[in-house]
């Protein structure tokens, strides 16, 4: 198995893990967003979606464990890369100027990433690891978003998530080697659209809930 | 001393085969007992070091740059010739041989040139196998173009970066041998002396350009691949580090220097634009396929080119050479441009330029076609001059480009010092008095890949090579001398910088030993060089120390040798009482102002022997025997 460790342990291998875990998250985000759209159906629609989801039982647990593993991989590898990259230029430049390659998204990956980690923990503590025996998920959510600070924080987090995937999505394709002059412009466009969907799609939810609450 | 070129017997086409068979072989297991010093990692040195290591020899390789991949060969643009006859246009070894001999104005050795043509095809095979991305046709086969006025399409190319790609091929082969431990690579080292033991070349002295240390290295043979000396002119198309030091030091140790006055001036370079200028940039010769060269008819006409009507333009090459027109050989085109400028018809701010106009070609073929052919050259031109050649004619002027002269070598590429081999532009062997386009790359790689691997074995098989060590007096004395010289340069602390003196030397040579020479000028140049040399040793300022990186000191050492060598060039030019190829003495020209050779008295190689400091060099002659070609006068009318 040393070949496996060698391959994944290399610089490109680490990026492979980032790309696969990151892309999986993107997939998860799509599913998560689709589910969340039930909110627009009102309290009952959303609650029945939640019940439905939980009735899947062990499948949910498996998915959760999978996500947790991917999260560990993504976060730990991301942290390693960040640390290594810092080390690779011990003496910094006095003047820094971009030649036009980087974007806000690409330049802030580790920071938006770190923020997302904190957000996810917060988010899970808020809506996942709570006692739901006496209260429906819809009520938890709408109660939370009746605080304006919550809304602002969530909207901000979603913009940051959008920023993270605006670079992350196409970058993952590039890492996986999927760069072809014919398709790369499409992938770039897709990244942009996806980041807007994430930002606006998720971002509008708290606003909507706070409005109806 | 008798100069024996060791040309094998037999018919021309069989000499090389026969010689290879007659050379004694070294048992493969014994090859690893020999250590070979290869100085230089250009096409010649890179290919030689790699090929010798592949055979099993232990190789030590040296270069001035920070990596072997940056040798000056990297800058060659146009292409490399080979007699593959892929285009079915009746090319052959014999034709390539003949073109090269004739192009060299019948001042090269038949046997060497024929061998060059014979191995030219192998070079292309080798390079393709290494992954050199030559240009190809849609069908997947290799593309060729005709170059430098050749009548056949035999030039292989990789965009405008042929030298780069060939060198990277050789560098990759070298890298493989470095990884295999067969080549020990010494970068940022400058050879400052050659060490002889019992009359054999057994080592070198180098300066470590990082630490400043003077190091000695031993070997069983020394292979010099240190390139040409065009930088003696200060301004040339050569890279900044090109120098004559290695060759000149070998010359001082007894290697003869052949034909030093054979230098080539390239007609299409970007003109000089100020005294601060550090080097000249070549624009590919191919531009003359479509560009028309002209100057205003009236001297002193300072109107901008678009204001000068057709009737007041002088397309002087087309006028004087109706059949070849703008495609006359390099030396003819260069001399004519100079002549126009001397008459006050030169254009641009300095008056030292002529127009190369694409207006008619653009009108005829359209801008797109021209852009496809020359787009990258036009871009390069615009980058440097800020003028757009699509709208305004280019300005060009001749510049020193290549040196045909070099250390004398025999058929085995061995100099007059046993065990000292010389390859590539550093030797004099194949181009006679003038080199054809795309044949320097061919020669460098032929020497390195396909000649030295055989001939060096022949030397080892016949030579007695007792063990030497760097503690021996020959080495310690040479190192001491190098150290003294360095310290002396640093101690002068005068009032002129190295570049300042180098620039003056360049001017002297350009004016009196350049495109057109005459006895009065050459004689004057000699005295000027002598006094400049004395001034150098009294008034140069070299800052810094010898114990770390000191680029001024590096340049000072090179200029000191240029100051010695330039006199040899002038002496050679004075001695050759004829005009041929790159050497044009105004006293020897035809009525049509063409070079007039004197085959009766000067059909020879002039080989110069060092006689000691302050003494005139000793002349030796290697007669050139032509059994296979008829000597003709060139005519491009």
């Amino acid at each position: 198995m040393s070949w496996f460790v060698n391959t994944l342990g290399s610089s490109i291998g680490k990026k492979l893990m980032m790309a696969i875990s990151g892309l999986s998250f993107c997939g998860f985000l799509v599913a998560h967003l689709a589910g969340n759209l039930f909110i627009y159906g009102g309290r009952d629609a959303f609650n029945s979606y939640a019940t439905h989801l939980h009735s899947l039982g062990p499948l949910v647990t498996i998915a959760e464990l999978g996500l947790l593993t991917l999260a560990l991989i993504h976060v730990l590898t991301g942290a390693t890369l960040f640390y290594e990259n810092l080390q690779s230029r011990p003496q910094r430049y006095a003047v820094n100027k971009s030649a036009g390659g980087r974007t806000i998204g690409s330049a802030t990956m580790p920071y938006t990433g770190a923020f997302l980690l904190l957000f996810v923990i917060f988010h899970l503590l808020n809506f996942h690891f709570v006692d739901k025996t006496h209260i429906t998920i819809f009520d938890i959510v709408s109660k939370s978003f009746s605080h304006p600070a919550y809304v602002v924080f969530y909207v901000l987090a979603m913009i940051i998530a959008g920023l993270h995937v605006s670079h992350g999505l196409w970058s993952a394709f590039q890492t996986l080697g999927a760069n072809h002059p014919k398709y790369m412009p499409i992938i770039m466009m897709l990244s942009l659209v996806f980041s807007l969907i994430v930002g606006i799609g998720f971002g509008f939810l708290p606003i909507y809930i706070s409005l109806i609450a | 001393m008798h100069l024996d070129a060791k040309i094998p017997g037999g018919p021309l086409a069989e000499k090389w085969d026969r010689h290879k068979f007659e050379l004694k072989l070294i048992n493969p297991a014994n090859k690893r007992k020999f250590e070979i010093i290869v100085v230089g990692t250009g096409l010649a040195g890179g290919s030689a070091a790699a090929s010798l290591a592949e055979l099993g020899y232990n190789v030590k390789s040296y270069c001035i740059q920070d990596t072997p991949r940056r040798a000056h060969s990297i800058a060659a643009q146009g292409g490399i010739n080979a007699s593959k006859n892929y285009q079915n246009d009746a090319d052959s070894d014999r034709r390539l041989f003949y073109d090269t001999i004739k192009g060299g104005d019948f001042r090269a050795r038949e046997a060497n040139v024929y061998r060059l043509a014979q191995v030219s095809g192998n070079i292309i095979d080798q390079c393709v196998a290494q992954g050199v991305p030559f240009a190809r046709e849609y069908g997947g086969l290799l593309a060729n173009r005709s170059f430098g006025g050749a009548q056949v399409s035999r030039t292989f190319y990789a965009r405008g970066q042929t030298g780069q790609q060939l060198l990277l091929g050789a560098y990759s082969a070298l890298s493989r041998q470095i990884a295999a431990g067969k080549v020990q690579m010494f970068t940022r080292r400058e050879m400052v002396d050659l060490v002889l033991v019992n009359g054999q070349a057994r080592g070198i002295v180098v300066r470590n350009l990082i630490t400043g240390d003077i190091e000695t290295h031993t070997g069983d043979a020394v292979v010099l691949c240190t390139g040409g000396y065009a930088n003696v002119f200060f301004l040339s198309t050569n890279a900044m580090a090109c120098n004559v030091t290695a060759s000149y030091r070998a010359y001082m140790k007894g290697a003869m220097f052949a034909n030093p006055c054979f230098t080539q001036i390239h007609p299409t370079c970007i003109p000089v634009h100020g005294t601060y200028q550090s080097k000249l940039t070549l624009m590919s010769e191919s531009l003359r396929n479509d560009g028309r060269v002209w100057v205003p008819k009236n001297a002193g006409d300072k109107r901008s080119p678009d204001q000068i009507p057709e009737t007041e333009r002088d397309y002087f090459l087309e006028r004087k050479y109706p059949s070849f027109g703008n495609l006359v050989p390099r030396d003819v085109a260069s001399r004519n441009a100079k002549e126009q400028c001397d008459q006050g018809k030169g254009v641009g701010e300095t008056g030292l330029a002529v127009y190369l106009d694409f207006r008619d070609a653009i009108n005829r073929d359209g801008k797109d076609v021209i852009a496809q052919k020359y787009g990258n050259l036009f871009q390069m031109y615009e980058k440097i001059t800020a003028d757009n050649p699509y709208e305004k004619p280019m300005m060009i002027y001749p510049a020193v480009h290549y040196t045909m002269g070099g250390l004398w070598v025999d058929y085995n590429l061995m100099s007059t010092i046993p065990g000292l081999f010389v390859l590539g532009e550093a030797n004099f062997s194949d181009h006679g008095a003038n080199r054809l386009g795309a044949s320097a790359l061919m020669q460098g790689l032929a020497d390195g890949y396909f000649v030295i691997p055989y001939t060096i074995g022949g030397y080892f098989a016949g030579a007695k090579l007792p063990k030497v060590s760097a503690d021996q007096t020959e080495f310690t004395i040479a190192a001491k001398e190098a150290d003294i010289r360095t310290k002396r340069l640093l101690s002068i602390n005068g009032k002129r910088t190295v570049d300042d003196i180098h620039r003056e030397l360049g001017n002297i040579l350009w004016n009196y030993c350049g495109m057109a020479r005459n006895d009065a000028g050459l004689t004057k140049a000699r005295t000027l060089i002598q006094s400049l040399r004395s001034e150098f040793w009294e008034n140069v300022r070299v800052p810094g120390s010898d114990k770390d990186i000191n680029q001024s000191l590096e340049r000072a050492g090179r200029v000191a040798d240029f100051l010695e060598f330039s006199e040899l060039m002038v002496v050679d030019a004075l001695t050759r009482r004829e005009s041929c190829g790159g050497h044009f003495n105004e006293a020897f020209q035809t009525e049509e102002n063409e070079a007039r050779r004197d085959d009766e008295n000067f059909c020879h190689v002039a080989a110069w022997e060092y006689a000691g400091e302050g003494k005139d060099p000793v002349f030796h002659k290697e007669p050139l025997v032509f059994e296979n070609v008829k000597l003709t006068q060139r005519s491009y009318k």
Partner: protein, 254 residues
């Protein structure tokens, strides 16, 4: 038309690898706008020499943008502000009278400063030595036209092979990664049939050596591509990644 400008230079001076460096300020006056950047430095150096000071050490050789020996970071940009241009081909007409120009060496853990603006880029050679070649000895190769190669592939290989090994990609990369350099060589040889037989071995060895040399990781920030004087594309990085995964997961190479 030629004109002259005056500039203030802030140049990184560092006597040796071990010593601590710092910026020094110099005035460059009457600089012709036709000069190249290196010629401007020549002028400054001539003056420093005559003033009894040590000239600025900087690497250069061909001065026509092909050898890859020159290169510094000028106002935060490797090889200066012009796209697709090496420092030696950058002309002073791109600066204005009164400009202040900061000049620093290429910086990366893998590139040690030797003196002033000169750095040690031998790590790049080490990567090539690990496998940037086709293992053929001199002689015994088939005829050059024995294997047809489509023009498209040959052109792509040439695009990658145009790399001059200057190290600007490393200098410009926020992570000091050498992926563009390494991928250019891997790509060139992976595209050509001559390079295929040892493609797996090559890419594995080169990537591992690259990692060992202390370069950073690629974050696909594309600064390398934007700064490369030969405008080498990051499609080569994608190709190298593909080759690397193929080699790592599906070849016999361990």
């Amino acid at each position: 038309m030629t004109k002259t400008i005056n500039l203030t230079l802030k140049v990184w001076r560092q006597p040796s690898t071990e010593s601590k460096g710092g910026f020094e300020t110099y005035h460059a006056s009457d600089i012709s706008t036709d000069m190249s950047f290196l010629e401007m430095l020549d002028v400054v150096n001539e003056k420093l020499t005559m003033d009894g000071k040590e000239p600025i050490a900087f690497d250069h050789d061909c001065r026509e943008g092909i050898c890859g020996q020159c290169g510094s970071v000028v106002n935060g940009r490797a090889h200066g502000p012009e796209k697709g241009t090496t420092l030696c081909q950058l002309h002073m007409r791109h600066f204005s009278d009164g400009d202040t120009i900061a000049i620093e060496p290429f910086r990366a853990r893998a590139f040690k400063v030797l003196k002033d603006l000169m750095v040690d880029r031998s790590a790049l050679d080490k990567v090539i030595q690990a496998g940037g070649y086709v293992s053929v000895n001199t002689g015994g190769t088939p005829d050059a036209n024995a294997i047809p190669i489509s023009k498209e592939i040959a052109d792509k290989a040439m695009d990658a092979a145009a790399c001059i090994g200057c190290g600007a990609c490393v200098a410009a990369c926020p992570n000091a990664s050498a992926m563009l350099f390494v991928s250019a060589k891997v790509s060139q040889l992976a595209l050509l049939p001559q390079g295929r037989p040892e493609a797996a071995r090559r890419v594995t060895a080169m990537v591992r050596t690259m990692d060992r040399m202390g370069f950073g990781n690629c974050s696909n920030e594309r600064e390398c591509e934007a700064e490369c004087p030969k405008e080498i594309s990051i499609t080569n990085i994608a190709r190298m990644n593909r080759e690397f995964f193929k080699a790592g997961f599906f070849s016999a190479v361990k």
